[in-house]
């Protein structure tokens, strides 16, 4: 069963189209990854699903109901972890979670036990009397998550929950996402970190300029580009590298430059490695290392958009 069905969703800010005729479905029990660079339209899409933004066009159905026709019903079943921290600094961790959970109709003993559960889940039970002022960035992020799950929503939407935190907290959060999923929650997880999405998501949509340019399981996405591979060449100095000259080599689909690394995206059976190396030798550009990579989501993204996730 599909928990979410989006059809022809569009959002404009003035003349700028942030989400462009987007359609997608999220099945129940999925960890659905929303992968896209900054400004791709991930948050805008999510804010329309959760009812924070009005859509200009299209339809959003959750649990079989039109979201804008049954807002209260829909809201009860959604938990949103906003991209920006949304907690009260002058309420304790417990009070933060309890206040928001209370708005979902929880009361008394049930409210108390769910609040504690949520804090335990994110590993903040011992800090429940502390104020977020004294928390590290990672702890605040975890509290931000706890505030979204205490009411036990069917669909949890997390908007870049790991931005700017230490590796340990990040690991903790990724594990929590999987645990929530095992407990029966459907999760929409947005990120511009390809590794995260690849690690935990069961389905992935790649979004760029407000459009979904590919979606499916990671295997399906990778199979889109089984006919290509990625060659990384580290050089001493990229000043004299002529990207267009490399692109002219038969079989080369795309070339990008990041610091001292040249990423060459080439067809699998082109047998052009010799020619590529010759280019560097002829132009007296010293090669330090050379690496060939199997297709991954980064390659997929690169192939589809012509850009890397980071520099897009």
């Amino acid at each position: 069963m599909n928990i979410l069905e989006i059809k022809h969703l569009t959002k404009k800010f003035g003349d700028f189209i942030a989400v462009d005729d987007m359609s997608l479905t999220v099945g129940e029990g999925e960890i659905f990854g929303f992968l896209g660079s900054n400004g791709a339209g991930k948050s805008t899409t999510i804010n329309m699903i959760s009812g924070l933004l009005r859509k200009n066009n299209g339809s959003i159905k959750m649990l079989g109901k039109e979201t804008n026709k049954h807002p209260i019903f829909i809201k009860k079943h959604i938990g949103l972890v906003p991209q920006e921290l949304a907690i009260y600094e002058d309420l304790t961790a417990y009070e933060n979670v309890s206040f928001f959970a209370g708005l979902y109709g929880l009361r008394g003993e049930k409210l108390r036990s769910r609040t504690i559960e949520a804090l335990e889940f994110v590993g903040l039970a011992e800090k429940h009397k502390s104020y977020p002022k004294s928390f590290s960035g990672g702890m605040k992020r975890r509290l931000n998550i706890a505030c979204a799950i205490a009411h036990q929503p069917k669909l949890i939407i997390m908007d870049e929950p790991t931005v700017g935190i230490d590796p340990q907290s990040r690991k903790y959060i990724l594990q929590s996402v999987q645990k929530l999923n095992e407990m029966g929650c459907t999760i929409i997880y947005t990120s511009h970190y390809m590794e995260e999405v690849e690690e935990i998501c069961t389905k992935i949509a790649i979004i760029d300029h407000g459009k979904i340019i590919a979606d499916g399981t990671k295997e399906q996405l990778k199979s889109l580009i089984t006919d290509s591979k990625l060659i990384y060449i580290d050089v001493k100095d990229t000043d004299h590298v002529d990207i267009d000259a490399i692109k002219a080599i038969p079989g080369v689909a795309n070339v990008t430059l990041a610091e001292n690394t040249i990423q060459i995206h080439t067809e699998l059976g082109a047998n052009n490695l010799n020619q590529i190396i010759s280019y560097f030798i002829e132009n007296k550009i010293e090669i330090r290392t050379l690496d060939e990579k199997e297709p991954n989501l980064e390659t997929v993204f690169l192939t589809l958009t012509g850009r890397t996730l980071r520099d897009a």
Binding site: L52, K75, P82, E84, A86, I87, Y88, E89, F100, L103
Partner: protein, 377 residues
């Protein structure tokens, strides 16, 4: 239910904000203390418990009813003690004109048909005091006049009864109940700080936006109107508690006189708080950034405080000063208080409350309209 939860949350985290408490409670108390003691000299000879400007008050009177002169003298002797001097009007002068020209504070005319009182400025503190203290005399006298016309033989008994100090005892005006400088500042500082509730109100919604908690509130299965009402009620509650503490403090430690009608005092202050909050809230919807309304609010509050007599009593005003004084909502607020407390005169209570609620309604209607048009909070 949701409204109460949000209101309670508001109360909780505002009371943890030390700045709010210092500003809303400590600040007015310290100002009362400083102004109330430092400016005592401006009010009288320097005695803390003495009265305001009453030393200089003069009431001109004219009496063509000789039999009444003796009881009248007895009565005025009481009032001399509290600083109201009585002078017989010299022949050939017009009492009303003299009052208008500020030669005297009041003119009382007594003849066989009754007594009449003319005041220069009814709304000044002095005016209220004179009015309050003479009202009973005027009433009694008019009663006696009517009796003497209808049943002259009873007049003697009535007159002897009246020469007791009954009609003075009836008054709130007793020497120790006149507004000392501390009494004055207790009232004007309280009405001033109630107006300052506008500042925190201007942050009420914008703070939720800047903390991004507005998003959390908006995705919860509650109505926008519930969020608005909850925040409004919470803010009213916090400010009411702060003002109540300030009043209690002024009574306990400064022995400030808040009069007999504490319920009405509370009602005026409560409606004033609602007005201030509505004003701040309204302005926050008028501007795009959260900081933009602040200078406007501060200027309005400072002017209202100054011209409303928060720093020193504004006496006789002319022209622009008079206009500004009349525009300041604190003028009506304070006049209503002083008349009620020192002259037992409740006539300005309803106008003050009506003004507070009227202005509140205006800004609340605007705020709800602006909020309903916004995407999000």
């Amino acid at each position: 239910m949701n409204i109460l939860k949000i209101a309670w949350k508001e109360v909780k985290h505002d009371f943890r904000d030390i700045r709010t408490l210092v500003f809303m409670i400590a600040f007015p108390i310290v100002l009362m203390l400083i102004l109330g003691t430092a400016l005592t000299g401006a009010f009288d000879g320097g005695d803390f418990d003495d009265n305001i400007a009453l030393d200089d008050m003069t009431v001109l009177y004219e009496n063509s009813n000789e039999p009444i002169q003796q009881p009248f003298d007895a009565f005025t002797k009481e009032l001399e003690k509290s600083g109201i001097h009585f002078e017989r009007l010299s022949k050939g002068t017009n009492g009303k004109d003299q009052v208008e020209e500020n030669q005297a504070d009041a003119y009382l005319s007594i003849d066989e048909d009754g007594a009449k009182l003319y005041l220069n400025d009814q709304n000044s503190i002095g005016g209220s005091v004179i009015q309050g203290s003479l009202a009973s005399f005027v009433d009694q006298y008019n009663l006696i006049t009517e009796i003497s016309k209808a049943a002259p033989e009873k007049l003697d008994t009535v007159l002897t009864a009246s020469t007791d100090h009954d009609y003075i005892k009836d008054q709130t005006l007793l020497p120790d109940q006149q507004p000392g400088s501390m009494d004055y500042y207790a009232i004007v500082m309280t009405t001033m700080i109630a107006l300052y509730a506008a500042i925190s109100a201007a942050h009420l919604i914008t703070q939720e936006r800047s903390r991004h908690t507005a998003d959390r509130l908006m995705i919860a299965p509650i109505k926008k109107s519930e969020i608005f009402m909850g925040k409004l009620i919470g803010s009213i509650a916090i400010n009411t508690v702060c003002i109540a503490l300030v009043v209690a403090f002024s009574i306990i430690f400064f022995h400030a006189n808040w009069g007999e009608h504490l319920g009405l005092v509370a009602l005026i202050l409560l409606t004033e708080i609602i007005m201030a909050i509505s004003f701040g809230l309204g302005l926050s919807f008028l501007f795009k950034t959260p900081t933009a309304p602040m200078p406007v609010i501060m200027i309005v509050l400072q002017l209202a405080a100054f011209f409303g007599g928060a720093y020193f009593p504004i006496g006789d005003a002319d022209g622009l000063l008079k206009l500004m004084t009349n525009i300041s909502p604190l003028t009506l607020e304070n006049d209503a208080m002083f008349q009620m407390i020192y002259a037992n005169d409740l006539s300005l209570v309803i106008p003050a409350i009506a003004m507070n609620l009227g202005i509140s309604l205006l800004f609340l209607v605007f705020s709800t309209f602006a909020l309903s048009r916004r995407e999000g909070l």
